[in-house]
Symmetry: C2
Amino acid sequence: CTVSRKREWALHGAPMFADLTVHELKAVRAYLHGIPEMALTDAKNKTLKKNSILLIELNLPRKHEALRALDRGQAKPPRQARVIIQFGNQNKPNITEYIVSPLPFPNSHVVKTFKEDRPVLFESRPITTVEYYHINNMLEKITTKAHKLLFETTGGFSFTNCSNRCLTFSDIAPRGLGPGERRTWIMLQKFVEGYFIHPVGFEVLINHQDLDPGKWTVEKVWYNTMYFDSVEELVEKYESGGVEKVKLPAHDDKDLFSTYIPRGQSNSPTNIHGPKLVQPQGPRFNTHDNFVEYAGWSFAYRVRSSAGLQVFDLRFNGERIAYEISLQEAIAFYSGDTPAAMQTKYIDAGWAMGSSTYELAPGIDCPEIASFVDLHHFFDTDKPVKHKNALCIFEMTTAMPLRRHFNSDFEGGYNFYGGLENTVLVLRTTSTVYNYDYIWDFLFYQNGVVEVKVSATGYIHATFFTPNGLHYGTKVYNYVLGNLHTHLIHYKVDLDIAGRENSFESIDLKFVNFTNPWSPKNFIVQSRLSRTEHKTERSAAFRFGKKFPRYVHFYNRNEENKWGHKKGYRIQFNSHAHSVLPRGWREENGISWSRYSLAVTRHKDSEATSSSIYTQNDPWEPVVSFEDYIRNNEDIVNQDLVAWVTVGFLHVPHSEDIPNTATPGNAVGFFLRPFNFFDEDPSLASKSTVIVRPGQDGNPEIQRWTPEVVGHCVTEEPFFYNGTYAGV
Amino acid sequence: CTVSRKREWALHGAPMFADLTVHELKAVRAYLHGIPEMALTDAKNKTLKKNSILLIELNLPRKHEALRALDRGQAKPPRQARVIIQFGNQNKPNITEYIVSPLPFPNSHVVKTFKEDRPVLFESRPITTVEYYHINNMLEKITTKAHKLLFETTGGFSFTNCSNRCLTFSDIAPRGLGPGERRTWIMLQKFVEGYFIHPVGFEVLINHQDLDPGKWTVEKVWYNTMYFDSVEELVEKYESGGVEKVKLPAHDDKDLFSTYIPRGQSNSPTNIHGPKLVQPQGPRFNTHDNFVEYAGWSFAYRVRSSAGLQVFDLRFNGERIAYEISLQEAIAFYSGDTPAAMQTKYIDAGWAMGSSTYELAPGIDCPEIASFVDLHHFFDTDKPVKHKNALCIFEMTTAMPLRRHFNSDFEGGYNFYGGLENTVLVLRTTSTVYNYDYIWDFLFYQNGVVEVKVSATGYIHATFFTPNGLHYGTKVYNYVLGNLHTHLIHYKVDLDIAGRENSFESIDLKFVNFTNPWSPKNFIVQSRLSRTEHKTERSAAFRFGKKFPRYVHFYNRNEENKWGHKKGYRIQFNSHAHSVLPRGWREENGISWSRYSLAVTRHKDSEATSSSIYTQNDPWEPVVSFEDYIRNNEDIVNQDLVAWVTVGFLHVPHSEDIPNTATPGNAVGFFLRPFNFFDEDPSLASKSTVIVRPGQDGNPEIQRWTPEVVGHCVTEEPFFYNGTYAGV
Ligand SMILES: [Ca+2]
Ligand SMILES: [Ca+2]
Ligand SMILES: [Ca+2]
Ligand SMILES: [Ca+2]
Ligand SMILES: [Cu+2]
Ligand SMILES: [Cu+2]
């Protein structure tokens, strides 16, 4: 099959992976709302006792069907939607998922089940705007009772009737201590710019399990290191002297603490724009809707509303390297001294991290030259929501050579100089999960390397300072503790190295010791490659805390490069991850993927994701449990393999996290690197190479395949290079 | 002391660290050549039995003297030169180092000794151009004897009289099996573009210890997996059928294998220039000779001819963070099946990696907007050698925010958006150590983070393919094996966190388990900070293969930030390093620093470097041995501490290393990250921040401190942002 035919088929297949259009989303909603038995009402309807759609997104085609289109140009399977409906208006409320098809004119729906037909606990559903509306109402009542306490504590802030001295709240998850619970610790904060780092020291546990908000209860209150069974108890003790009063320092509107407003000094000017990227001769990548080409690369992408960025059918020169690389989950597990702090175990797919893709600012979030793409999500809404400029694609220079060599003649001259600038295509979106902002990047290098990277920024999750809190974090403000936590991110990497049948090995080094063949009285000690083929899923699941092999290598035992080596790719980690809880400890069951830095499974359409939108609110008995995928310990030799990759880092907040965590040093991820996949470096296809040789006349002779002059935005001077180094 | 006074003193002191000028270098040479007893002759003089200067470079002032200038504005100590002289023209040849001063008008010289007055073995000196001249002569004789064999093997290549079918050679180190030896394995290669990966399968062991090249001998020859005691023996057996003849495939001049010449295909255009950096409003950093200022940073730099790039007196807003951060050594230890391959243990300071700083190409090695600086070296020369454009300094955008947050109101609007673009100042030089090119970067972020990074590129060190070689590498061409090796790089990081007296701790997490204070029938398990103060050098030396703590933290116990935390910095590794030989095994003694990913010592002027230019040729009993620095196991509490950092990676070559190793994924290093050093993120001083808030009229209101329009090279459009996301 020719490269151009392969390209045609890739382009033909890419729409299978495109997110649902506005039209499709509306059609699915209309179809379902037209089914009388479902009795659907608007999501925005204020009652909780209703049946309504929570989420609509693309349902991926089964892989073998998709491959018929991608590898043989056959017809694409019909497009389908995945829909989550919350049936609250019935005796036993439940959550049901449906597959609705065919799009854009749906006429059927079937129930989508989970492994072993596990039901989705109604209490495990994500929280909606309507539920927050009722929580807000309840907080109004609570804070009215505690008005004086709050007012005195904060020096004038209140939850209601507050103009510029308002309080707001943050809620914590999981919402309880076991399955079926729905009770949430909520902490109050000053509603100022950057309220996340303005806790006022008042936390309340609300039980909001009942679908009648009138039946919701306050179960506990925390104030100044003490617990109370009710707001009334706290207020009474506060008034009677039974509790020590906290008095925050007077609020200073000029204290810029939590804001972005510049202050401080700099040696050099910053009131002018710094270096910027330009494309003096236009873009060097192509896009057709969700299909992208750059250098030898092609791929399709989508942004799953439930969990975020995905890349499909990744090819280089038409040969597939991965069927899918996709974000699965992001968690941040905290420690602390307040009840909210010690309860916080954020599992962000449950906070709709895939649809928290807000607008990207040109020149800051992505360079000005980026292509910005709008995304549409249908989550907790009655019509599709457009997120303008929520994804960007751009090529950038890394200001570094991809390759270079100066070939000295060691006599003040040179045989040649060769170099190729390192440019990379970046596919980026972000998730702002409440306080935190994750920047999700896929980077495609000219030499067949892919980098998958997450950078963390945004506000830290902070709680009220107590002296005991110093065991769990850092004081970052008068009365604020930045709580220690670990970020872990999970990716699915369905490598298909030159075909579906792949094998997996790890490569280590072993010292060998033998008689020196040219000096038999001596010995030589050197390292030798030691390869271990991992034949089953269990043997290919690498626990944190155990030694990780030097190389992990996925290869196709039926395909060789020109020199007889199996075509392969390896995964190289750039991560400081570790486990966050003892294995099997309560919430840890919801994140069983996090036991492994790397696990390799046999591909199954039924094992599409390692987590779900329900894990946050039921991590104890999750409907999707990664451990299930390896429990049957299947044979993984010459099979369709999927690599599951966990990266992350420990974040002990420090003063420099104020106002926000900064990205330098806070990026983790992994590289997919060719390992004998090609016959030589595929970036040799780039005509941006420059070679300089000493000419006959002694002057350098420049060989290049790009225009001599870059252009007026960069320089009007042609490239120059001399190569010699001489005595002076 | 005010910030402006501190800046003045930093600027005043920076020249102490500036490399010697051409004038100074010449003055030192003239002074020494004027001393009759030294009987110095030209380095280029063809005899080996001579006294001549090998190297002249700046001798650093003692730290306490330098600090008087830097911290109190006092007079700078006189400038001094360090000179290495090889005394070959005497009964017992020796190497002696001198300190020559004061510059630029020297009038004194004193011998500089090593620990315990260890003598420098004459045989441990680096090899010079003159010695190569004699090796070349010897190879001419050898290859003349083996002319027919070589000609037949290579299909027409020869060492002499060869026009466009020439052979060249590469020599391997160390040069022998123990101290005092000087015998080198040399392999022949086709002299074509990229000869490093054209071994022809002929290796010869030359003993060149005698200063009379006429007495040099051939000790062994290797051809087609067999060893011979002489060239004659090989030739005889070759002719008589006692050895199987190798016949390389006919040389194909059109085979571009080892060259940079483009070939292959790409989906998207590469014959135009890709994205480039511009400075639409001019540079945002200042330089005064070797003194640089950027954002809050200031530092001085130099490029030591012996070992490379160094940064001194690193400050942020006038407060010192490090006195010195400097490259010490770079090694690559190989494995293989041929004698040259199994002997190769490159220790690059012995190959003058500090003076192998060749010209940087604008637009490839550094962006076009970089400031390029010439360097001068005096190594194996009779006059200073100017390396034009050998260092560059530039600011770049990382095309990524330093910080950003989108503060949603969860109703389709937002409270505010804030963002600051991530730009960074890069200080770069390279070392081309024969086949390999290292790119040495220091990156200074706006938020007080420093990144130290080395990227590897250039040609792999390759040897002749044998089937047994596959245990030690990868076949990358018909008859070529890319040999596995490990790169390790050593840095000295003399942190001075707000003063000289610092302490060191590691921070880990420990699970705690206690009764849930708000639900006593339940337990809470969470992580708690566990700090270990390391009080002695031994306890602060972290061996490879042992567990490394989550955080390593250097702090000043006498200085606190605004919130009462000790001012500190931590080192965050980005590395895949491991030990290369068993501890104490022969050559491993020369690289005892490589036992530790991190070691912390008490500062001593006498422990300025962890390696020396002599280690390569005597790794067995090195004159500078890092292990000595920690052997006395000094107290390191509240002392002037130095962190010694080892980074690196295993390199198993693969087809994609042809023609050159590419930088993506082949960069390692470390971050220095503030940890409660500041009161808040110091990048708040940047006026490049942009804040967007919804205005009264519903339109976004943009608050910024930089011009609204970037300029014609980037965009004539003002910044735009909307912030809302709405149903459609
Ligand atoms: Ca399985
Ligand atoms: Ca697969
Ligand atoms: Ca010591
Ligand atoms: Ca120090
Ligand atoms: Cu964090
Ligand atoms: Cu290498």
